[in-house]
Symmetry: C2
Subunit: 359 residues, 2 copies
């Protein structure tokens, strides 16, 4: 597999995902197409609102490619929102100023679950697939494109709560009182997510990431049954090749780093790390099984470029010598970070990481 | 030490903290004196506002004792707020409706740190010590009283940010850019917290808990230097006996369960667990070193009493046979929980736990 040909100018990200040798560590950032970039804000203003931006392939493709051109990251990630799946399943989706996403009506009973549509990605999420095709044309083989989806559990939290939640009161009531209802919802979501990611891969995504942003809300005893089992179900159904080349799968279960070994056996190629565990410890625990992605503290980007460089050095040293590390933040980049700080991080990775890949 | 005499009718909590044999598992709840109780809301209304309630010993003592009498918990915990320390150090403290606590002016430079007062608990926090004395009189030896404080790191986040924070932007900038300023603040806080807890112990608290509610906001590499080192400094300075009996120390570093072994060597008697790690795993990892406190998912209390009983059974089974388990939630009880659900949890612990303590 060491002679994988992805047909790209820069395939460092894909090779690192597969733990193949690379001359340096690749780097990208979760939420790299986002509000911290003035160029993004200009396109968003043009779109009018966030959801229109997601659904206008020309504009979504433009912001997807921006960080590649402005910052020099080693991969693009599709600009979209995880909640397009609940919308495609029949919930109304909107964003309220300062309140975050809203979904209505909430899904809270078995009848609600049975009333959900099973999305056909080509029909219901065609704008995402169009965006992917436009992005690929614009990237023109420079770097790979990462597709993504929310994980079933995380999507279910929004669908049941009707939006964001602080204490997950309603979904936890369903989980503990009517687990069969939640399992029915999660099963439908697993199929919808698998179909959606397969459509992204068929449209040309080179890799996919599954975001379980609220994994940490689950009790330790419930993580396997209500989160990881459905991630595994998604991963098992994925098309893992594209034009003969492997399509790596990344699983990021935020807040669940205690359970790293369990995340590593979901079938993924790469485990995403949040900032609460060192790369060194993660590598000791699961580095023989998967590649690792992460995990600079996103708040480190509020420090000066000189200090950011030192913190990049610390992060690279934590993983240490060898292959299979994709540099990233431990969570999405925040809106107030100056773009030159993000650039300082990316440049530091490029300058300092070759030492860890020398023979 | 097996014949420790605490002079209490019910010393199960203290004995479990010290891993001494008990006939059943003791139980209390973080935030047990709180809004979910109508009796609490009545007293709070009488006080007018939250801070007045904290500072009126008669009323604070009343709500401290309520859960002992209403729910039958095995320990009372002082009703107060962690931010009375920043206030005693010179910041103005107030609570804005729906916005949480505010502290002004924020502490952000070495000059700000040097301008802070070093509190004299008897003079500046006398109302807390008066509350403790009133509580002890009201409890009349029925159950022990737990004192508490925020940990230096958690207090520092509020002091630097000027209140609650989502991304800890300012304190992280100080941490990464001017670590010496943050260390100076944390050192002052460690001394203030130790003095405060020692005053609580001198006033009669039978045990103390240190809450590091925002430990999980720290990068793995920073946890030791900016959180645990200062908790250790507090614990080392504590008076660990009261009238000849040991005074157990509990450390609850929420969101940092990956680092359990490091928390266990802060010098504490008990490690508090949030809901993200099973008691079984925690016991395997550190149960030979400390007692464990926790960790039912607080959202489990939204389930029915019958289901709560099953979840209590699961939690007890996770710790398994033996001593050294203090039953609690994995975080504070939430305001919307029906009191009868809390009671169902407490009664289930009392009924189901003796089987785990039989010879």
């Amino acid at each position: 597999m060491d002679n994988s040909d992805f047909g790209l100018e820069n395939d460092l990200f894909l090779r690192a995902c597969l733990r193949l040798p690379t001359p340096r560590t690749p780097v990208w950032m979760m939420r790299q197409a986002g509000r911290y970039l003035p160029e993004y804000r200009a396109v968003r203003e043009q779109a009018g609102d966030f959801l229109t931006l997601c659904k206008t392939p020309e504009l979504a493709a433009e912001v997807t490619v921006q960080p590649v051109e402005i910052l020099g990251v080693d991969a693009a990630i599709l600009f979209s929102d995880i909640l397009v799946i609940p919308e495609a399943m029949g919930q109304k989706l909107w964003f309220e100023q300062g309140e975050g996403p809203r979904l209505a009506p909430p899904v809270r009973s078995m009848a609600d679950v049975e009333g959900l549509a099973q999305p056909d990605p080509a029909r219901d999420l065609g704008y995402v697939l169009d965006t992917i095709r436009l992005v690929l044309a614009r990237l023109d083989g420079r770097v790979p494109l990462i597709g993504f989806s929310g994980a079933p559990w995380t999507l279910a939290t929004y669908m049941v709560e009707g939006g964001s939640s602080r204490d997950f009161r309603t979904i936890k009531r369903v989980l503990y009182e009517e687990p069969e209802t939640l399992h029915a919802l999660l099963a439908r979501l697993a199929d919808a997510v698998a179909d959606y990611l397969n459509a992204q891969i068929a449209a040309g995504a080179h890799a996919v990431q599954i975001f379980d942003s609220w994994a940490g809300a689950l009790a330790a005893e419930d993580l396997e049954d209500f989160s990881l089992a459905y991630i595994r179900r998604v991963v098992e159904r994925l098309t893992r090749t594209r034009e003969g080349a492997p399509v790596p799968v990344i699983v990021f279960a935020k807040g669940a780093m205690v359970h790293l070994e369990k995340i590593a056996v979901t079938g993924c190629d790469v485990v995403g790390l949040d900032w609460t565990i060192s790369l060194a410890e993660a590598r000791r625990r699961i580095g023989a099984r998967t590649a690792l992605q992460g995990n600079l503290d996103p708040a480190a980007l509020y420090a000066s470029p000189a200090r950011i460089r030192e913190l990049v050095a610390r992060t690279l040293a934590s993983f240490g010598k060898g292959h299979g590390h994709v540099f990233n933040l431990g969570h999405g980049i925040t809106p107030d970070v100056p773009p030159e700080h993000a650039r300082a991080m990316i440049e530091a990775v490029k300058e300092l990481s070759p030492a860890y890949h020398a023979d």
